[in-house]
């Protein structure tokens, strides 16, 4: 009963607030011109500790979608299919990412967006429908009728906003074992010796943003995330296609917070409390011996809060 009361309260909260409410009073927004080199854009993302940025096309004076880790995965995929095209990859501009998408047959990422004054609930529905983990907030310049990129909202920011402002999250005490949240069946896992290219192919084929790494007893020992691809390219290691995923993870920067785990005894109250305090994008479910059982992503949590 408490669980239902909390879900109702959270849903009406999400319907009563809009995306603009989540934005701080003062914030910055980094945007790239589409004529910028991909490798330059990568350096700027890493320097600012961000993994995505809106693109702006100065020829059409329009917003041109978001640069995300999927774009970098496409570049690596393209390079693994065309190892002789190193020069092309090195001189690739952000405009050129669309051609790379076509060349490898990657799905054209639909650029969803939403007006800042629409409800948070609508923003969540759009993200869940398009399995996007972030959504640009777009308004229109009242003179030139061109898009204004006001900001980009992520699932993480929305869940953090809920956990900070919705005290009903405290009564979400039903254990995960009783909820149908997350994935606990046919989870693809790899070993530290698995070539990183195979892991990247898994990210694409399973359209997931992380692949768990287990040892011979199926104990979870690490995770390869889509954002790790940025360090792989930055380090220029993607040219060594035989690299193991264990070696690729050595490139991870020291400010990586680590992989979060939980058990089926945990509940959404403690999970949202952890999201309020730390930047986590998923939790791996393990048993008392540390064996991998499943994964619960921010999309899973949002889906449950909105639709269960």
């Amino acid at each position: 009963r408490d669980q239902q009361i909390a879900l109702k309260a959270i849903r009406s909260f999400l319907q009563s607030k809009n995306s603009f409410d989540v934005l701080p009073v003062s914030y910055r927004l980094i945007v790239f011109e589409t004529s910028l080199l991909v490798k330059r854009a990568l350096n700027i993302l890493l320097q600012n500790s961000i993994v995505s940025a809106p693109l702006w096309n100065s020829k059409t004076s329009r917003f041109a979608g978001l640069l995300t880790s999927s774009d970098f995965i496409n570049v690596i995929q393209y390079y693994s299919q065309n190892p002789d095209q190193f020069q092309f990859v090195d001189n690739l501009t952000l405009d050129g990412l669309r051609d790379v998408e076509k060349a490898i047959g990657a799905p054209q990422l639909e650029t969803i967006s939403i007006h800042p004054f629409k409800s948070l609930y609508e923003a969540c529905v759009k993200m869940i429908e398009s399995s996007a983990r972030r959504i640009p907030l777009i308004d229109e310049d009242e003179k030139t009728h061109r898009e204004i990129v006001v900001s980009v909202l992520t699932q993480y920011r929305i869940l953090k906003f809920v956990s900070m402002n919705c005290r009903e999250t405290k009564i979400l005490l039903q254990p995960l074992s009783e909820l149908k949240v997350g994935t606990t069946t046919n989870l693809s896992a790899v070993k530290l010796e698995t070539p990183v290219m195979d892991v990247i192919h898994l990210l694409i084929s399973q359209s997931v943003s992380s692949v768990p790494i287990v040892d011979d007893q199926d104990k979870l020992i690490n995770v390869y995330e889509a954002v790790d691809v940025l360090s792989l390219i930055k380090g220029g290691m993607y040219t060594d296609l035989s690299l193991s995923v264990g070696e690729a993870l050595i490139k991870r920067s020291d400010d990586f917070e680590g992989v979060y785990t939980c058990t089926l005894e945990d509940n959404l109250c403690v999970i949202l409390e952890t999201i309020r305090k730390s930047r986590l994008h998923r939790l791996f479910i393990v048993d008392t011996a540390g064996k991998l059982i499943g994964v619960i992503t921010l999309s899973d949590i949002l889906k449950y809060l909105l639709f269960d």
Binding site: F20, Y27, V31, F32, S35, R40, N43, I44, T93
Partner: protein, 32 residues
Amino acid sequence: LATTSIKHNTLAVASVIRYKRKYVTQILYAPL
């Protein structure tokens, strides 16, 4: 207008604009 020195053939410019009741520092990175 705020600017950075040109590095690696890239220039960044920024300006703080008011959007409704909040302030956005819009930063644009462009190639030389």
